[in-house]
Amino acid sequence: MAMLDVTKLSISFGGLHAVDDFNLNIEKGELYGLIGPNGAGKTTVFNLLTGVYKPTEGIIRLDGKDITGKSTIEINRAGIARTFQNIRLFKDMPVLDNVKAGFHNHYKYSALTGILRLPRYREIENTMDERSMDILKVFDLDKEADLMAGNLPYGKQRKLEIARALATEPKLLLLDEPAAGMNPNETAELMETIRFVRDEFDMTILLIEHDMKLVAGICEKLTVLNFGRTLAQGVTSEVLSDPAVIAAYLGE
């Protein structure tokens, strides 16, 4: 059974078919790429998968469970976490606390326990701190744990978003242009990190990216969107040599 199974997903804004008859199957552990020119509907697919938009048609199944029409919060709890094309960090909170916020539904104690500082508070905070530092370490952010997230350089902010998403312990991780604004060195390093995350955390990853080197380098399969419609789908090397794809997207 596929980890993510999307059938006939569609949404339109006014008259614009932003995503039209979109189908997608991602197996557990796969590293899958979603590409296409600007305005093709890639981010809209992410917004549909995470419940930010409700589809006008179609079904989304995660690990066999129908999650169509559920709220963003419910969908995260069901196991989908994401990053944003326009970085959305908790800017006025320390780097560490951004990740700890991600653990919200995994390490719990009540507000009253927190106010009264009962022993459970210390115990759980300790665990959260440990685990958060472990994740930050993966992204080489552990030395900056006490900085305000908004003060991190751009590339590190993108990494922190991935770290925060991972803290929600998802089954499926959605990355929206993780390498945007990074220089080639940073991008190469990020590719390594994404691969590491997939292997180490046993993660299934769907990523949107414009950087073809990154896409060709790490994605096993691709879907190409153009004007909301699927242009090509399949194994990366085959898709990238498809004349229709080259014409519509890579050629320009």
Binding site: T50, V52, S71, T72, I73, N76, R77, A81, R82, F84, R88, L89, F90, K91, D92, M93, P94, L96, D97, K100, A101, G102, H104, N105, Y107, K108, Y109, S110, A111, T113, G114, I115, L116, R117, Y121, I124, E125, M128, D129, E130, M133, K137, D142, K143, A145, D146, R164, A165, A167, T168
Partner: protein, 364 residues
């Protein structure tokens, strides 16, 4: 030094920093309390200042509670005087009904709880419909709430006799009580005869409790959830944080603490009416929070003290009073928010912090 210890070191440093920030506030309150007590004991205090001590505590608590909504949760409330009013009226009513059938201290402690609970309930009732909306509706609704509460209480008559409670919104006559019945809430005249239980010491204890609640909440799982919804609502939802729940938590805790301020206020006066609980007071509390620095608890306390005491201290200036007051407002604002002074404060904090931390970090 191996990796694991390194991790611990940075976390220890963060914890020390947040502990120090919290302790600083308790320290300031206790030091000011000790100074005032010494001045009282040695007779070096004017009767004017002495009379101001409890109101100062009232406004400090109110400012701290509003800062929880404005600074931590990122919402705007223009009706905090309304929650103070609920706390004041319900607790004064309670104390009057119970009367001498209970010793002072336990009755006052219960009265504080009554005020806190009722104000908190009103916070939840207002918060549930409003905080679900995306946008700044809270400001408008709380503004309306404050005025409505005030006007409702102005026409409320409540009495008690052997049959229990009697309510009316027209006049005392319509209560239809037995001749032995006692009228407690008298419309625009409010509630009189409330025991004067509020003291400076109790006020300071309540400030400390308020600080504990606010600071411990902020530095907890719930506090992170509240601040994450403030910083980025969409991102908070994307990591599974129930945004409305945490906005509601912050708002109702804040309302409840404002209620406590109201209890302290009510038990400091022989006669309680709604005059003080209008939007001017709500705005004044907001001014404390903004001038003291949004999200800055120390600043809220200092601003509340200076701006409450000042107009009273300047009474002898008559007509020039408000002019001086306005100038002080501007000076505080310039001082508090100027980039140079922000920079200075963060450098000072850094210095203090390094000095204390250096022993522990010596081996680095």
């Amino acid at each position: 030094m191996n990796e694991k210890q390194n991790n611990h070191e940075i976390i220890r440093r963060m914890r020390r920093k947040s502990l120090r920030n919290s302790l600083l506030n308790y320290g300031i309150v206790i030091v000011v309390f000790a100074i005032m007590q010494t001045m009282i004991a040695t007779g070096h205090i004017s009767s004017l200042l002495k009379g101001l001590l409890v109101p100062l505590c009232v406004y400090v608590i109110a400012a701290l509670s509003l800062n929880l909504v404005v600074g931590i949760s990122g919402e705007l409330s223009l009706g905090h005087a309304g929650f103070m009013c609920i706390g004041a009226y319900t607790s004064a009513f309670f104390s009057n009904v119970v009367g001498d059938s209970m010793p002072d201290l336990p009755r006052f402690i219960l009265a504080i709880l009554v005020g806190a609970v009722f104000a908190g309930i009103f916070g939840i009732l207002i918060g549930i419909p409003v905080l679900r909306l995306k946008g700044d509706y809270l400001a408008i609704v709380t503004l309306a709430f404050g005025e409505i509460i005030k006007n409702l209480l102005n026409v409320l008559y409540v009495g008690v006799d052997s049959h229990g409670l009697h309510f009316s919104t027209t006049s005392a006559m319509d209560l239809n009580m037995e001749p032995t019945g006692r009228q407690i809430v008298k419309g625009a005249l409010g509630i009189s005869g409330t025991p004067k239980n509020s003291t400076f010491t109790i006020g300071v204890v309540l400030i400390i409790i308020t600080l504990i609640v606010v600071q411990n909440l902020v530095n907890s799982r719930s506090g992170r959830a509240i601040m994450s919804t403030r910083d980025n609502r969409i991102a908070a939802e994307s990591i599974g944080i129930p945004v409305t729940k945490y906005k509601l938590l912050a708002f109702s805790v804040s309302a409840s603490l404002a209620g406590v301020a109201g209890v302290l206020y009510a038990h400091n006066l022989a006669t309680l009416n709604t005059k003080k609980f209008d939007y001017n007071t709500s705005i004044l509390i907001l001014v404390f929070v903004v001038l003291g620095g949004i999200g800055n608890m120390t600043g809220s306390m200092i601003a509340a003290v200076i701006l409450t005491a000042l107009p009273e201290m300047l009474r002898f200036l008559n007509n020039y009073r408000m002019l001086i007051y306005a100038i002080v407002l501007i000076v505080i604002m310039l001082f508090n928010w100027a980039p140079a002074s922000l920079d200075f404060r963060s450098r000072m904090r850094e210095r203090l912090w390094k000095k204390h931390g250096s022993d522990a970090e010596g081996g680095r």
